[in-house]
Symmetry: C2
Amino acid sequence: MNLPDKRIGAQTVRLADPPSVLAEASGAGKKEGDGPLGRLFDTVYDDTSCGEKSWEKAESRMQRETLLKAAAKARRSLPEIELCYAGDLLNQCIGTSFAMRELGLPLYGLYGACSMMAEGLGLAAMAVDGGFAGVAAAVTSSHFCSAERQYRLPLEYGGQRLPTAQWTVTGAGAVILGRDGPPPYITHVTTGRIVDGGIRDAGDMGAAMVPAACDTLLAHLRDTGRGPDDYDLIVTGDLALYGMKLLRELMRREGVALGENYTDCGVLLYDLKRQDVHAGGSGCGCSAAALCARILPGLRGGEWNRVLFCGTGALLSPVSTAQGESIPSICHAVAISNGRD
Amino acid sequence: MNLPDKRIGAQTVRLADPPSVLAEASGAGKKEGDGPLGRLFDTVYDDTSCGEKSWEKAESRMQRETLLKAAAKARRSLPEIELCYAGDLLNQCIGTSFAMRELGLPLYGLYGACSMMAEGLGLAAMAVDGGFAGVAAAVTSSHFCSAERQYRLPLEYGGQRLPTAQWTVTGAGAVILGRDGPPPYITHVTTGRIVDGGIRDAGDMGAAMVPAACDTLLAHLRDTGRGPDDYDLIVTGDLALYGMKLLRELMRREGVALGENYTDCGVLLYDLKRQDVHAGGSGCGCSAAALCARILPGLRGGEWNRVLFCGTGALLSPVSTAQGESIPSICHAVAISNGRD
């Protein structure tokens, strides 16, 4: 295989001129605002309708306002954002289409379920590194109420959940990348492959996504020649409580020990003892809000210097579940560092 | 605005080292096989169930087989495809997720409705030009029966259509790009913005997409300093019969005359007099199959030397329509040339 310059393995690229994270912003709902990251979100919507007439429009407004906030923090006007990568969980990604309708940004729509922030971040980083944009953005969102209506049952039904079930985060995250700027930098992108472990239970999406997370983590470590200890933090999103345990076990069987530096966005967002979310958070907004409220600020503050951000997505739909199919999943990994390596 | 090297305007990049179209492949259903491009498709599925138990699985099979065919024509093994960009119209893009599940390719999932082939082609071209992949693929599909079930009514209902309605193409297209290779080359990518002309009629998607097509065409011509006559062929997909007329009119009002070199994938796929498809074709598979069966081979054969391929997508969903929303749309344009400019 004739690898181009930036390609350092079957799934990983090392960016030649690592883009700077100019700014990030996060928005979240009331429940998330009551959680452990509550004080860290740029905006908490105590009214999760966000003043709109439908949950779908509420999600769009939250996504749009989060992107505008990130642009303002980066001191960039909208026309300076030359490429935007965005997506969400809703059918035909209407959360994004209606969020972006008023902004006039050159846009690539994505679908990668809950891996969306890692997917968009990786693509935006490649766009900047490749010379296609001086400034690029990645944004995504999810909303508990729009997701419940679409994937499960109307809220009014009040269905019971399994202990393995996850709670769709009402939240959004937006990142603005630029060619030149201060740390942190995006240094590596490992593109995921679809992996299907045969899990058929849509109430156990953490387990369904574990094989994809394992596949991408192993690819990243193999391609970069790194070990888990080369990162101050490895964070998956959103395997949640049981998925995390399964990933540790699966990685252990592959000869890789994930230590104390491993965590998951699904357990960062909520207080699992106090808040009734069962195994933890999920949704595109879960890893996006955790990245933008906790992880990137933690890098800026020197709490960590090198982080591997692994977005995981369960690529099921109510139709595939009804047809008896198992759940294909994907995980994209992005290395973020205060240095340029 | 500090433009990076490859950026030549607000929405357009000129690729420094234009990627070669190594090969393309197309698959289509029986009705499409009976149309004007019938003999040009690599595969015609006379049984549009493709031997599968559901329409969704049929679409997945068609998409997968089309990608495999394109890889075979490019004489590349699957592991040589370093990045793949794919998407479809189905909720959560399950057409793609299940198509790609068995292939193990590093994958970025997209959603851009019927603009998907232009979106994927642009992203794949940037990935190759940026040094992120030596070989990259773009693939998409649509299926009349899976789309009807999801967007409109069960087939058994036999609903009547408006004259402006379009027929979702059962078809798929896949393109393999490489760093080095013969013409045609991808020379420019113009990324679309979401534009909403206020059309609320989901039975007139051509009209809904026209403002986006106009916006992107004008951006492309402005950014490149070109006129319509600099292209041997300008092809939108899929505005269909009435949308084409509206685009000509809208462009004329902007001072740009689209001449005889302008056509639309929605009218290429079917014989509008003989086949009962009303205004023409639509669906991700429409422009994808037209590109791969007719346009790229036409470039190879020297029938045209420079083509502007403009994929148009209507970003509606049954939910947004039910909520009384208008239809946001997007159009991405990709310039393809037998020369490197």
